[in-house]
């Protein structure tokens, strides 16, 4: 029985090495795909900005300075470097508000994804694995809730219960768990048919072992892509809710809230609306680029397609060049 120990150690060491290799491969892949790399860098910068907000922001985002209200950005005529992106109607520094606003977007996005994803995956697992009545109950629930006018209901709930970051998170999660549920159930059903799961069941593996060891690993990459896409959607949704006044409330800072505040000064102070809007757009774009890249590398079919397209485009360009070249030679002669 002693010889099983070194075997297990080799197994574990091998697994860690495999993980290291995979991480290096991922690194290579993302460097190759420039848009994915751009997305990844932008998100990394965003997270760093959100975490280091108290160190980065030149001013307190809620500090009012009525003497310097509506100062334009530093690169314009009346701007000052003290307020690099200008100030709003209460004299609050726009750059600091943008930096602190990233915290809200990231926190709400992550919280909703975790909450909705957790609940959705759980429901999907129950539906797919237990089957029968549970399955039809969950699917019918999903089908019904998907047909609800989600944003309207969210607005009403927020209006009645009172908007705050917590209620926004809960409402957005309630609205958005269904997509995880459907995907998880699909994945579970697909995996359950396979022979290795059947073998595991026959050998006597407990349900939890089958779920964690066989089913969930197949789920991670499509789930991750879905979660990232949902994250982008949630950032936009939170911005819209805050813009309508039913999301994050002052004195907290949210990009959507800033756009709403700046809306009244849109002709006099264009930077109030533009800066938070650019922040939202860049964030969501970065997340979308990352999601595209992730989908590409995790699905071998997509990778093949992209490779084939790349080759086809290259051939077309080469064909065009060689079609032009002989004519030039004739002209020279």
């Amino acid at each position: 029985m002693n010889n099983t120990e070194p075997f297990t150690e080799t197994m574990l060491a091998g697994r860690w090495r495999e993980r290291g290799q995979r991480i290096r491969e991922l690194g290579r892949e993302i460097r190759r795909d420039k848009s994915g790399l751009a997305g990844f860098i932008m998100i990394a910068l965003l997270v760093a900005m959100a975490v280091a907000a108290p160190l980065l922001a030149p001013h307190d985002p809620a500090a009012q300075d009525l003497r310097s209200r509506l100062t334009p950005p530093a690169w314009t005529e009346k701007g000052t470097p003290a307020h690099f992106l200008g100030t709003d109607h209460l004299g609050r520094d726009v750059l600091s508000r943008v930096i602190y606003g990233s915290r809200v977007s990231l926190v709400v996005g992550a919280a909703v994804v975790l909450l909705a994803g957790g609940f959705g995956v759980l429901m999907g697992l129950l539906a797919g694995y237990l089957g029968g009545r549970m399955d039809s109950f969950v699917m019918r629930w999903i089908d019904t809730q998907v047909a609800f006018p989600g944003l309207l209901l969210a607005l009403i709930i927020l209006a009645v219960v009172g908007p705050s970051m917590l209620t926004v998170i809960v409402v957005l999660a309630l609205n958005g768990w269904m997509v995880y549920g459907r995907m998880t159930r699909g994945a579970v059903l697909a995996v359950r048919q396979t022979e290795y799961v059947e073998a595991a069941e026959m050998v006597g593996c407990t349900s939890s072992r089958i779920i964690f060891r066989h089913i969930l690993p197949n789920l991670t990459s499509p789930l991750l892509t879905l979660a990232i896409l949902e994250f982008a959607r949630i950032v936009l949704a939170e911005a819209a809710l805050s813009f309508l006044g039913l999301g994050i409330q002052p004195p907290a800072t949210s990009w959507g809230l800033d756009v709403a505040n700046g809306k009244d000064y849109i002709f006099r102070a264009w930077w109030l609306v533009t800066m938070p809007g650019i922040a939202i757009s860049l964030t969501v774009l970065a997340v979308n680029l990352l999601a595209s890249w992730l989908r590409l590398i995790s699905d071998p079919q997509e990778r093949e397609k992209q490779f084939a397209r790349h080759m086809a485009a290259r051939d077309r360009r080469a064909a065009k060049r060689s079609a032009n070249a002989p004519r030039e030679k004739e002209a020279a002669v």
């Binding site: 047909a147 006018p149 209901l153 309508l244 680029l289 485009a313």
Partner: protein, 306 residues
């Protein structure tokens, strides 16, 4: 086919019931509707009178049954804000939202299909990659921000178009563009990917080998076969436009549709009008769903549902 429609109608009824249960619960049980509807200085006696008037002093199950009965008759009571039947207001505003949404999605489809086809014809090429990039960009821009920017650029600086309201047909242009953009981006992506898949199939190569003109093969044969996922998405986008995004876009452009009315009702805490709006929107969504299902059978005759 008839049985399928009945099944969908039944599903629709359950959805509408579910929505109304939620609205009922939220307004009566979680929120305090009387507190919201009465002015702050109302005395206890005035509250009691108001409650009796609205039937809020009766036990919840009875209230709910009454509510269901009212709903079936489309009678939500008088709007607290405008003091006339809430459904009347809803029917007045509904055409604005429907018109804007259909115009927007129609615009999106009209632009997206050619763009997607052009991108699919040369996959990996410049037009393809730029289409994908601009689609991602279009998905990433918040609609309320886009609307504001369009107002500033086109209405204020260039004076080409009006800023807000719904007086003339040109008033619909900017809101329709704003509502259309994310839908445009998503539809382009799906047209492109469906067409790429379709154009790689054997029958397309056979058709080209036969010498059929490119336009005919792509536009007639490939497009029809690639159409199903596109129609699914278009229906989904229409629903999202009517039930969701219209709130934001209508608010930005002061377009007098159901979305803006909902925001106004929320501002004035007019729960009766809100209930009427949510109910109507739920019905609209169900109807659009059924319409889309019927459209499938037209597009793909194999899907004659039995």
């Amino acid at each position: 086919m008839g049985r399928y429609i009945l099944k969908r109608l039944w599903h629709g009824i359950i959805v509408i019931l579910g929505v109304t249960v939620i609205v009922f619960t939220v307004t009566r049980m979680i929120g305090d509707p009387v507190k919201l509807m009465l002015p702050l200085e109302a005395t206890v006696e005035q509250r009691a009178v108001f409650e009796k008037q609205l039937g809020l002093d009766r036990p919840i199950p009875i209230q709910f049954v009454e509510f269901l009965g009212d709903m079936a008759r489309f009678d939500f009571g008088d709007s607290l804000w405008q003091h006339r039947p809430a459904m009347e207001i809803v029917f007045e505003r509904m055409p604005y939202t429907l018109g804007l949404s259909f115009a927007a999605i129609g615009l999106a489809v009209l632009l997206a299909v050619p763009l997607g086809i052009v991108a699919a014809l040369r996959p990996g090429g410049v037009s393809d990659r730029s289409t994908v990039f601009f689609s991602l960009l279009g998905l990433s821009i918040p609609q309320f921000w886009l609307g504001l920017l369009l107002i500033v650029v086109f209405a204020v600086n260039l004076h080409w178009l009006p800023t807000s309201g719904a007086a003339t047909p040109t008033h619909m242009l900017l809101p329709a563009i704003t509502l259309a953009l994310p839908a445009l981006a998503r539809i382009v992506m799906i047209v492109r990917s469906s067409m790429i898949d379709e154009l790689n199939r054997q029958y397309v190569k056979t058709a080209f080998a036969k010498g059929l003109p490119v336009a005919r093969v792509v536009g007639l044969h490939a497009l029809r076969n690639a159409g199903l996922p596109v129609v699914t998405l278009v229906g989904w986008e229409l629903i999202r436009a009517v039930a969701g995004y219209s709130v934001v876009v209508e608010t930005v452009f002061a377009w007098p549709g159901l979305g803006m009315t909902a925001m106004q009702a929320i501002d004035r805490e007019d729960l009766i009008l809100l209930q009427a709006i949510v109910f109507t929107v739920a019905i609209l969504v169900v109807l659009i769903n059924i319409l889309m299902d019927a459209a499938y059978t037209v597009i793909d005759p194999r899907l004659k549902l039995s």
